[in-house]
Symmetry: D2
Subunit: 341 residues, 4 copies
C-alpha cells in the first residue's frame, strides 16, 4: 500500500483525494496539508478515511512513511515545493503548470537528473476517454500520416478579471492544455507558432492586457500543421473537441453530454448541451491520471506525463504570446535559445 | 450512518457493496453473507472496509445494528429471505425479480401491510441517466400526451441454455425490465398484451421451450400503445434504446459508447459500438438506485420502486408468455383474476 | 422515344409529368387528360412541352402513338381505367392502390394474364434513396438473416375527416405503404397480422370509424417479425424511418432534412426537423420510379413493382383492419381464402 | 422568356445548360458555343432542346435575341470574353475566377462602371443548402456576434500535377472558394492573412512549386478570426464543413451523404461517407445560382455575387500565397496598394 500526501486542499486536491480513497487500488492518502486547514476540510478527510490533516505541508515531506506527494497548491508554489519534495526523496505528482517561469522549471529538471524519483505533471486531458481514443487511433495508424490536427477548446465562461491578471495570459493558462494535446495526439514536437488573438468576450480582459479569443497555428517537426481554436466563453458549455486528419482518414472526438436524449418537436430536433464544467467532463480522467501515477511508482515504470511534458507547452505558450504581440510567427527554437535549452 | 448487510456476494452483491462503500454518503456495509463465502470474497470485503463476512445470512438478520439488507442471492430465495428480513424488522432492497411466482410476491406484499419498513425492488434501469432523461421529458409534458412508446432491448449474447431452462422464459427474465420501463416512462398501467415470438438466435433455446426474439404490443389504460423489441443477441453489443412519441413531440434515447470517437476513412464514417455489457452500461445506475434506497431509509420517504412495481411486470410477463403460447391478446385482468388480485 | 399519356392532372399527375419531361431520357408525355381540364393545367403543360390536353382520357387510350399510360386519377377509377388501358394495348403505370377491393384487383390480374404489357404500381418509397440503401444492405447480407424489422411512419398532420371517411381506413390508406415496405425490405411474405389501434390525434377520426394511431405486428414466412408504428400526426414533421435487425447486425435509416445545420446555444444542440411533406421527402423517388417504368417498357424487362405487389398490401391491410376490430391476430390465408386466392 | 447563350460546353457549361432547360422558369438557352464543338455536344443540346450550336462564341455575342451569357470557357478567357460580352450589351454570369490577374479583373470592373448590366460570379457554394443555412443563422443573429469561423475544405483527390502547374496555386484554385465563404458567412472583409502550407499528399506537387495542405488564418475587420483547413486529398471523400462560433452560440454544417443509412455490426456503427465529388454535392447549388442570376436579369435587381465578390478572394489568395512564401502575416491592404485599389 503506497502512502500519499496531498499538498493543497482546494478543489483539485479534493478531487485527487477522492480518487485515491475510492478508486485507486494499492494506494491511500495518509495526510493532507493546507495553510487554510479548517473544520470543513477535516470533516471531508474524516469521511474519506484520510487520517492526518496539517496546516504545514512540511510535515508531509518529513513523514518517512509517505512515498509520494500530490502538489495541488497555488501555481506559484508548484516548483519550489517540487524541489523540496524531490530533496525529501518523494515521488511527485504536480498539478499543471510546473511553473510559468522556464528558469524555475529548469531547476526542477535539474533536481531530477540522476534521480530515480517519479515526477508526473497533471495534464489530465491525456487520460480523457475521448482524447485517448483519438490518440490511440493516430498511434495505431488508423489515419495514416498526420496532416492536420484541429483542436477546439472553449470554456463555458471567462474567469474573473482579477484571475486573468495573474494567470500568465490565455496561452499559459488555458491553451497550455491544448499545446499538450497537440504533442500528445501527434507524438511530435512544435517548431513554430503563429497566433491570432482578439478581445471579443469581455473588454475588461483586453484592459488587463490579455485576449479572450484565439486561433493558433502550429507547425510540427513532421511537417504536419495543428490549429487551436480557443474562446473563454461558449454559451452552450464546455466545448472540447478535436479532429486529426491524415493520409488515410480522420478521427474526431465530440463533447460528452449528460444523456443521449433527443427531443423532436415543432422547434427542431434537440439534444443536450455538452457537459458544462471541466470537473464533470474530466472526472474520470482525473482518477485515471492518479491511477497511472500510482502504478508508475508501484512498478517503477516511466510516468506517462513527465517533467519535459511540463516544460514544452510553456515554451509554446511563450512563443504564442510573443506571436500575438509582434504579429509574426515565432520559432520555438527562438524561445529555447533565450533559456539556453 | 446507516448500517447495511448484503445477502449474496455474487456479481451484483459486489456491485452494490462497492457502490455503498465508495459513493453513498451516510451508509456503510457492516456485513456480507454468502453460502459460498471464501478468501477471495473476504479479501474483496477487507479492501473495501466491510468488517464482517458470514456464511449464514441469518447472522445479518440477527444483528440489531443492521437497519437494512440488500438481497442479492439467487432468484428463488428473494421472496423467502424478504419475508425473514421483514420479520426481523429490516428495510429491504431486493434484486429483481421479487419472484416469478405471483403467490410468493403476494406473501411479501402481505407481510409489508401496515409496516413502516421500506421495500425497494432492483429495477436499476429506472436510475439510468438516459432513461431518466426520457422519463423526465415525458413527465414534464415535453412530448404532450403519450401516444406510442417503443423500446428496443437486446442483449449482446444469449445466456447458456441451462440458464434459460430455469429463467422463467424470456418475458420474466429479460423483458421484465422493459415491462417495468413501460410503466416507468408512461406513468401508466398495462391493460392488454400481445406478443409475437420466434427462435432465430439459437434452436437450442427453442428446444428448451423458450423463444429468443420477440415483439410485444402493450395497450395502456390511457389508450397509448407500447411496443417492445427484444432479442437475446445483437452482434454489435448491448442495445438499449427507447422512443416516446406524443402529441407534441418525441423523445428518444440512444446507447452509450466508450468514447465519442468517429473514424472517417475509405470504408465509411464509423463510431463506436454501444457499451457491450449491462454492468458497463448501468454502473452509475446501480449506484444511484442504492443511493435512492438509503435516502428513503434515512429520511423515511417513499422508495422510488416499491413492491407493487415488483409485482406488475411479473403479471405482464405471464400475460405475454400466454399470448405467445395461445397466439392471442391477453388482458392483464385475466391474469390478475387468477391470482385473486 | 416512348410516348406517354397521363390520366389525371392532380398533384401526383403533375409530379410525374415534370419527372418525365425534365429527367427521364427516352420518354416524353404526349398528352394529359383530366375531366376538370382548365387553363392552369394547359399553361403548365405548355411550359413543360406537353402538346395535348384532353378532358376525356379515352382520347389518350385511342392514340396509337402513345405506348404507355400513367394512371393518376382518383382511386376508385384506378382499376377500371387499368382494364381499359390493358384492353387498348397500353403499358400501365398505376398509382397506388390498384383498388381497395380485392375482386377488382383480381380482374386486373386476370386481364394481364398472358399479356406482355408492363403493369407497375406506384409504391414510390421503394425508390427512396434511404429505403433503397436499407434494402441493399439486407439483400447483400450485411445484417445476416433478418430477425426483426421496425418501421416508423408518421404523417405531419391528419387529412380532413371527409377524406378519412372514404379512405378505406388507415391501414389501406396510409399503412399500405409500410406493408409494401415490409415486403420490399424483407423480400418475404406476411403470414399473420396483429394490430393495436387508438384514437389519440382527433376524436372526429374515431367518430368516422377509423383510428389515427397504430402498432402493427406482422409475422413473416421466414419466422422474422415486423412491427409498424403509425400515427396520423407528428408535431415535428414527416417521420419515415426503419430499422432492420438481423443475425449479423442492424441497418437503420433516418429522416432527411433540408440542411445539416446544427445550432448549439444556451437552449441545447438543435438540428433541423425532418422534411415536412411527402413530396419534399420523396421527390427524387417519384422520378426514379417513372424512370424505372420507362426502362422496363423500353427494354422489355420486368417491372420493379408489379400487380401482385399491388395486391398483397391490400390483403395485409384487410387483415389488419379485421385484427383491430376483433382484437385478434389474423392470418393472411384467412383473407386470401375469402377471395379464392 | 430570357434567352441565354452558353460559352464553353465543358463539364460546367453542360451543368448550367441542364439547369436552365430543366429547372429555371422564364429562361431558355438559345445557343451554346465551343471551339471544340462536336456531335456529342450537339446531341446533348438537341435532347435538351437547345437550338443552336456554334464553334465561335462571337456568334452568341452577335445575336440580339440573346440577353445574357454564361461564360464557362477556360479560366484565361474569362476576363477577355467578359469584356466583349459587356461591350455587346449582354448580362454576364462568369464562372469563378474572373481572373487570377488582378489587373484584368480591374478592366472588367472598369467596363461595368455606369453600366446597368448584371455581372454575376460563379461562387456556387453560396447557394448550397447547408452553407446557406449557416449564413442565415449568422445573419439572423442566432449566434450573436461572430467570434471565430472555421472552414474545412478538402478535395477527394489531388488534380494532375500538370493542372496544378497552371492553376495559380492552391490558394487561387481551391481555397478561393473558402475565402469567398469567409466573406459570405461573416458579411465582413478580411484584413490580414497568415497561411501555413505543407506538401503532405504528393511530393510532385511540391516540385511544381505548390503546396497541398494548408491552414490559413484570417483576421476580419470586426476583430473576428477565421481559419481554413485545406487538403488536396481526403481518403473519405469531399469534405466541406464549417463552424461559425459567436457570442450566443455556434452553427455548424456537416457533409451530405447519399443516404442516411447506418450499419451497426461487430465492426462498429458505420454511416456513409460524404458525397464524393463536387458535382454531386453542389448540383442543386449550381441550379440555384443560375436561377438567382436569371431572376436578377428578369427583375433588374442586384446579383447575389457581384464582380467585387470576384475580386476580393483573389486579393486574399495573393496575400496567402505571399504569406506562405515569406512566412509572415500579410495585410490585404499591402496587396491592394500594389494594384492601386
Amino acid at each position: 500500500m503506497i502512502k500519499l500526501g496531498i499538498i493543497g486542499a482546494g478543489r483539485i486536491g479534493k478531487v485527487h483525494g477522492e480518487s485515491v480513497m475510492r478508486f485507486v487500488k494499492g494506494a491511500t492518502v495518509k495526510a493532507i496539508a493546507d495553510p487554510f486547514m479548517n473544520d470543513a476540510i477535516k470533516a471531508w478527510a474524516a469521511e474519506l478515511g484520510i487520517p492526518e490533516c496539517y496546516t504545514d505541508y512540511k510535515r508531509i515531506l518529513a513523514d518517512p512513511e509517505i512515498e509520494a506527494v500530490l502538489i495541488c497548491s497555488s501555481t506559484d508554489t508548484h516548483s519550489p515545493i517540487s524541489l523540496e519534495a524531490i530533496a525529501a526523496g518523494k515521488h511527485v505528482f504536480c498539478e499543471k503548470p510546473v511553473d510559468h517561469d522556464v528558469e524555475k522549471i529548469k531547476t526542477v529538471i535539474e533536481a531530477l537528473k540522476g534521480s530515480k524519483l517519479k515526477y508526473q505533471v497533471g495534464f489530465n486531458r491525456r487520460f480523457d476517454h475521448n482524447f485517448r481514443a483519438a490518440e490511440r487511433a493516430v498511434r495505431e495508424g488508423k489515419i495514416g500520416e498526420l496532416n492536420t490536427l484541429s483542436i477546439t477548446s472553449r470554456d463555458p465562461g471567462a474567469p474573473p478579471v482579477e484571475y486573468i491578471k495573474v494567470s500568465g495570459g490565455i496561452f499559459l493558462d488555458m491553451t497550455i492544455h491544448d499545446f499538450d494535446m497537440v504533442r500528445f495526439i501527434s507524438g511530435d514536437e512544435v517548431e513554430e507558432v503563429y497566433a491570432s488573438g482578439a478581445v471579443l468576450v469581455d473588454p475588461e480582459i483586453g484592459k488587463a492586457g490579455d485576449i479572450d479569443t484565439a486561433i493558433v497555428n502550429l507547425k510540427l517537426k513532421s511537417g504536419a500543421i495543428a490549429v487551436i481554436n480557443n474562446c473563454r466563453r461558449a454559451s452552450y458549455g464546455y466545448d472540447q473537441r478535436l479532429e486529426a486528419f491524415g493520409s488515410l482518414g480522420q478521427v474526431e472526438v465530440q463533447n460528452d453530454t449528460d444523456s443521449t436524449a433527443v427531443l423532436s418537436d415543432a422547434n427542431g430536433v434537440t439534444k443536450e448541451k455538452p457537459k458544462y464544467f471541466f470537473l464533470e467532463r474530466y472526472m474520470a480522467a482525473y482518477t485515471a491520471e492518479i491511477e497511472s501515477f500510482v502504478r508508475a511508482v508501484e512498478k517503477d515504470t516511466a510516468v506517462e506525463v513527465g517533467v519535459i511534458d511540463g516544460l514544452e507547452p510553456v515554451l509554446i505558450g511563450l512563443a504564442a504570446t510573443r506571436s500575438v504581440k509582434e504579429d509574426r510567427p515565432v520559432k520555438i527554437a527562438e524561445i529555447r535559445a533565450e533559456y539556453g535549452l
